[in-house]
């Protein structure tokens, strides 16, 4: 055993203190870059009646990302959740944001599902995923909405991420395709395009699974999706900023002193 200990040096002991500080500094810088890549929430003002973004990264950098892009008549809002968290998730999220930008800039008139189809191609190409079992299994789950302000139609397409709509106090959930943006075990299929006729006052919520998957300090159980929906539903009459606060409070309350298990992202917007 002693021999073994001598053969396997303690890696942490080898990292100089200064080196660790440099590492954290790099991550802080990376965080800045990641935040800079994500849209400034200010751009959504004026485009939407009200909105909030609850973004609670587990680490300095995040595997979750939000995205917004708009022209005069169309707006795209998305909430993405990359596999893993921390640095690997953050790198993938940067790819996701870049790809979304590329796609939206090339054709804003694309249907929501076609955006996801294209995004998946880009991710598969970038990660060299060809359907081989040895491929990298990284991927992005995402919920994406395209809002046409002229026709009041909202297109939604989801890769493992649903959309919640609240209209006149009633919650409707739009189920996502059980696929991710990345290679599928057997075969990739086209994402489904959901077209919703919206009404003024309708509220929509896109989110990652970090909130529902958070373990509670006291209960040691996950918050669960049905409770998440209950909070959303119960707060629907509140202004978006207060909804955000309520969600954040509920999350923190549930988490207590337990470690945050994943990045948390919730986007709420009202038309």
């Amino acid at each position: 055993m002693n021999v073994e200990k001598q053969d396997k040096p303690d890696l942490f002991s080898l990292i100089p203190r200064q080196g660790m500080n440099d590492h954290v500094a790099s991550l802080r810088y990376a965080q800045m870059i990641q935040r800079a890549l994500m849209p400034n929430p200010a751009i959504l003002k004026g485009q939407l009646k009200d909105f909030f973004i609850l973004f609670l990264p587990r680490d300095i950098v995040s595997g979750d990302f939000y995205y917004a892009y708009h022209t005069k008549l169309k707006m795209c809002i998305a909430a993405g959740d990359c596999t893993g968290h921390g640095v690997p998730g953050a790198l993938l999220s940067i790819l996701g944001i870049s790809f979304l930008n590329e796609i939206m800039q090339s054709d804003i008139n694309l249907n929501a599902n076609r955006i996801l189809n294209r995004m998946r191609e880009k991710i598969m190409l970038s990660l060299h995923q060809t359907g081989n079992s040895r491929d990298a299994q990284d991927s992005i789950d995402i919920g994406l909405c395209i809002i046409d302000s002229a026709s009041w139609k909202l297109q939604y397409s989801g890769a493992n991420r649903p959309l919640i709509m609240i209209r006149n106090g009633e919650l409707t959930e739009f189920k996502p395709d059980k696929m991710t943006l990345g290679v599928e075990p057997v075969k990739e299929a086209s994402f489904t395009n959901n077209c919703i006729d919206t009404k003024p006052g309708d509220s929509f919520y896109l989110f990652s699974d970090g909130f529902a998957d958070q373990f509670g300090e006291i209960t040691d159980k996950k918050f669960k999706y049905k409770h998440f929906k209950r909070i959303i539903h119960s707060s629907e009459e509140l202004p978006m900023a207060q909804q955000r606060q309520r969600l954040e409070s509920a999350f923190n309350e549930w988490k207590g002193k337990a470690q945050q298990v994943d990045d948390v992202l919730v986007i709420g917007f009202q038309l």
């Binding site: 249907n111 189809n117 294209r118 991710i123 190409l125 995923q129 060809t130 075969k187 299929a189 086209s190």
Partner: protein
């Protein structure tokens, strides 16, 4: 001087009547068509037009005999120069002619005669017709005269009878009898009767005598007519006998032909010798018939003058005069034979057995020993090298070898102008000949010179026989052609049956180059199945041959000229459709459907797959171009054939440019050009972009790699076999391995765009 312009073949193998078919004015004519369509029959027909030699197996089952006509262009006034003393009318006709028609027709013994046909023949026939009408008139007159003479002779005989009757009454013996018979009558009555009878009888007798004399005078005068008439009858009888005999012989010959053509096996030898006798008899009888008919005609004319009262001598002279006035000194056969001397040589290159030999003795070349192997090819070689025997008499062997070396280089250089293929890497073949002498080991030949031939490349020095069939064929073909072009002093029509079947596509194109090079000296008519031997921008050269009933080999062949190609069957047009890009046997240009031209074969597959998937039933026929640059040519063809069509263009640089080009040049005069040029709705660079990336991967590539560029760009960048991929896709659709439900909504939306577009075509 004479250049083949058109031909017409009747009753030859599967051909009943091709009608007049113009050959290409630029001297290269290409016959396309399926196997057994009758292409080779056309070439053979033209060959036998020149040679006149046919066998029973060319006869059709109804045994109608072949007749082959060729129309030649000639310089105006040229016929006058080669026709001796044509006479005023004929001279006027000949001086204005710019073309000449010759027809070779065969008779039952399979011998043939070549005649002028067309305008000259019409003129000569009109003279002949007038002559026949004249003879008919004379014949009618002669018949009337003969009847009248016969009537007179009958009357004369009757008069003689009556005369003799009266004379008997008046003679004593008769009186006695008369008295005896009337013995019972009273004597007074008898006396009275006698007195009253005699004067009456005498008067009658006198009258009869007078009548007799009159008739006799007439008959005497008509004696020459009678003699002529009797001779006419005899001649006619003889002619009838000959005709009957000819009919019998013809029947026998027909029976033989029937046996040959129906049984398709050789006739036994003893039967054959019997047939030879029949044949000899037939020919003899035929020539006798011609003589007899000429005699009869002359005699009829002669009789006419006798009827008119001429003496025999006068009549003879007048017959000669009338023949001159009614009949030209020329007839169709005479002029046909005369003009045929100037006819281009028709040569059928069907057998290239006389390939360049490995070695040939100079002695055989000098003595013209055609039986020695490769003689013809060796002669061609020397002709091409412009060598004669004196060349080899150069006393200095060093100079001779140098000259040969130079010649080898020149020949090889010339050959390379046509033979573009390289062997293996970059080295091309070299033709080489050497002069050498037999050594002492060759008994009887020692010291004698011979020529040795080689076909070399950098790696190998091989005898001609060691080379591939393709190389040997092309070399032999090249030499025959070039030598013919150098030697012949009159026009030549070269008939080539499926040239270069054993050649690579590239070498087939070289064959076309040879044709192009010699076409000023030699007119070429060739058959082919190969798209490489049809030039897309020279479709005026194409004649399509096909059966009337495509399913029956017993049906007759017909020829479609370039303007009728649209109505040819898709199979017939296969070589054309291959070069134009249409790869499907069952599809093709259609005059009954709307033709939609697309950029290439790949798009053709894709659109047809969409049509199948969407169950589109409209009458639209997708026509692929070989590439974008060939679209104007296809448009011209469609316009020429008067077909409904439009061009579907995608959003790539070439096709955007093509849209402009079509508007500005091809459809310049067409106010509907906007409807003819259809831009593909949606920004598709090419047809494969109609599929979503996902469907493209799933159904075309069968791969899962991420694709972030348009499908067409992906295919180009990865250098994938586009036509193969799209062809496989169509095939899978046809086999229902891929169904419309397998596609995503993006693709289906695009499919709908296509079907809406097709539906809107008018």
């Amino acid at each position: 001087m004479m250049k083949l312009k058109a031909f017409r073949i009747k009753n030859f193998r599967s051909i009943v009547d091709t009608d007049w078919q113009n050959i290409s004015p630029d001297n290269i004519t290409c016959l396309i068509g399926q196997n057994e369509s009758g292409k080779t029959s056309v070439l053979e027909g033209l060959k036998v037009f020149y040679s006149g030699i046919i066998s029973e197996d060319v006869l059709r089952s109804d045994l109608s005999l072949p007749e082959i006509s060729c129309r030649f262009t000639i310089p105006k006034g040229w016929l006058i120069k080669i026709t001796d003393n044509p006479g005023t009318e004929l001279k006027e006709l000949l001086s204005g002619l710019t073309h000449l028609e010759l027809t070779r027709s065969w008779i039952a013994d399979l011998s043939s005669v070549i005649k002028v046909s067309g305008e000259i023949s019409q003129y000569l026939d009109s003279l002949e017709d007038a002559w026949r009408i004249y003879l008919n008139d004379v014949t009618v007159k002669l018949e009337e005269e003969m009847i009248s003479i016969q009537d007179l002779e009958t009357t004369f005989s009757k008069l003689i009878e009556e005369e003799s009757d009266i004379r008997s009454k008046l003679s004593p013996g008769k009186e006695k009898k008369f008295s005896f018979r009337l013995f019972w009558k009273k004597p007074a009555d008898m006396e009275n009767q006698k007195n009253s009878h005699f004067p009456g009888l005498k008067n009658q007798l006198n009258q009869l005598k007078k009548q007799k004399e009159e008739i006799n005078d007439i008959l005497l005068k008509k004696q020459p007519v009678k003699s002529a008439g009797e001779k006419w009858k005899k001649l006619q009888e003889k002619c009838t006998q000959i005709d009957d005999h000819m009919k019998e012989l013809s029947l026998k010959l027909e029976e033989r032909h029937q046996r040959m053509t129906l049984l398709m096996r050789p006739i036994e030898e003893d039967v054959d010798s019997e047939w030879k006798e029949v044949l000899y008899d037939y020919r003899k009888t035929k020539s006798e018939r011609e003589i007899r008919i000429a005699q009869l005609d002359n005699h009829i004319a002669f009789s006419g003058y006798i009827i008119d009262g001429c003496t025999e001598e006068e009549a003879e002279n007048k017959v000669n005069e009338v023949i001159q006035s009614y009949k030209s000194q020329f007839n169709n056969a005479y002029l046909g034979k005369k003009y045929f001397e100037y006819c281009p040589v028709f040569e059928l290159f069907e057998d290239f057995g006389s390939l360049l030999p490995n070695r040939i003795d100079m002695e055989d070349i000098v003595s013209g020993n055609e039986k020695v192997e490769g003689y013809k090819a060796a002669r061609n070689f020397l002709t091409l090298a412009q060598l004669d025997y004196s060349f080899f008499q150069q006393p200095s062997s060093r100079i001779l070898k140098q000259k040969i070396e130079n010649l080898n280089n020149t020949l090889t250089h010339n050959f390379h102008d046509f033979w573009q293929q390289s062997i293996g890497r970059n080295n091309k073949i070299h033709i080489q000949f050497e002069l050498d002498h037999y050594n002492a080991s060759y008994e009887g030949k020692a010291g004698k010179p011979y020529l040795e031939f080689w076909i070399k490349d950098e790696g190998e020095r091989l005898y001609p026989k060691q080379r591939s069939r393709g190389v040997r064929w092309f070399l032999s073909f090249y030499m025959e052609l070039m030598a013919s072009a150098n030697v012949i002093d009159k026009q030549m029509v070269l008939l080539v049956d499926e040239p270069g079947v054993s050649l690579h596509a590239r070498a087939q194109e070289d064959v076309l180059k040879v044709f192009e090079n010699i076409k000023d000296k030699i007119q070429i008519i060739y058959t082919t199945h190969s798209p490489h031997l049809v030039e897309i921008n020279k479709l005026h050269r194409v004649l399509a041959v096909q059966r009337d009933n495509l399913d029956s080999m017993r049906s007759t062949s017909r020829i479609l000229d370039p303007l009728q190609l649209a109505s040819a069957s898709p199979d017939t047009l296969t070589p054309l459709q291959n070069i134009l890009g249409n790869p499907m046997g069952s599809e093709g240009f259609s005059s009954k459907r709307f033709n939609l031209i697309v950029n290439d074969t790949g798009s053709f597959y894709m659109l047809n797959a969409i049509i199948l998937l969407m169950g589109f039933k409209g009458k639209v026929c997708v026509i692929p171009s070989t590439n974008v640059s060939s679209i104007p040519l296809l448009c011209n063809i469609m316009m020429g054939w008067g077909m409904d069509f439009a061009v579907l263009l995608f959003e790539n640089d070439d096709e955007i440019h093509m849209a402009e080009l079509l508007k500005n040049s091809v459809f310049k005069t067409d106010s509907n050009s906007r409807e003819i040029i259809i831009k593909m709705p949606g920004a598709f660079l090419n047809s494969e972009d109609i599929l979503s990336t996902l469907d493209f991967k799933n159904h075309l590539l069968e791969s899962r790699e991420g694709i972030t560029v348009p499908n067409s760009v992906y295919i180009r960048e990865k250098e994938l076999p586009r036509n193969f991929i799209l062809s496989r896709f169509l095939s899978n659709v046809k086999e229902e391995k891929i169904k419309v439900s397998d596609f995503d909504e993006e693709t289906l939306e695009n499919f709908k765009l296509i079907t809406d577009l097709l539906r809107g075509l008018k």
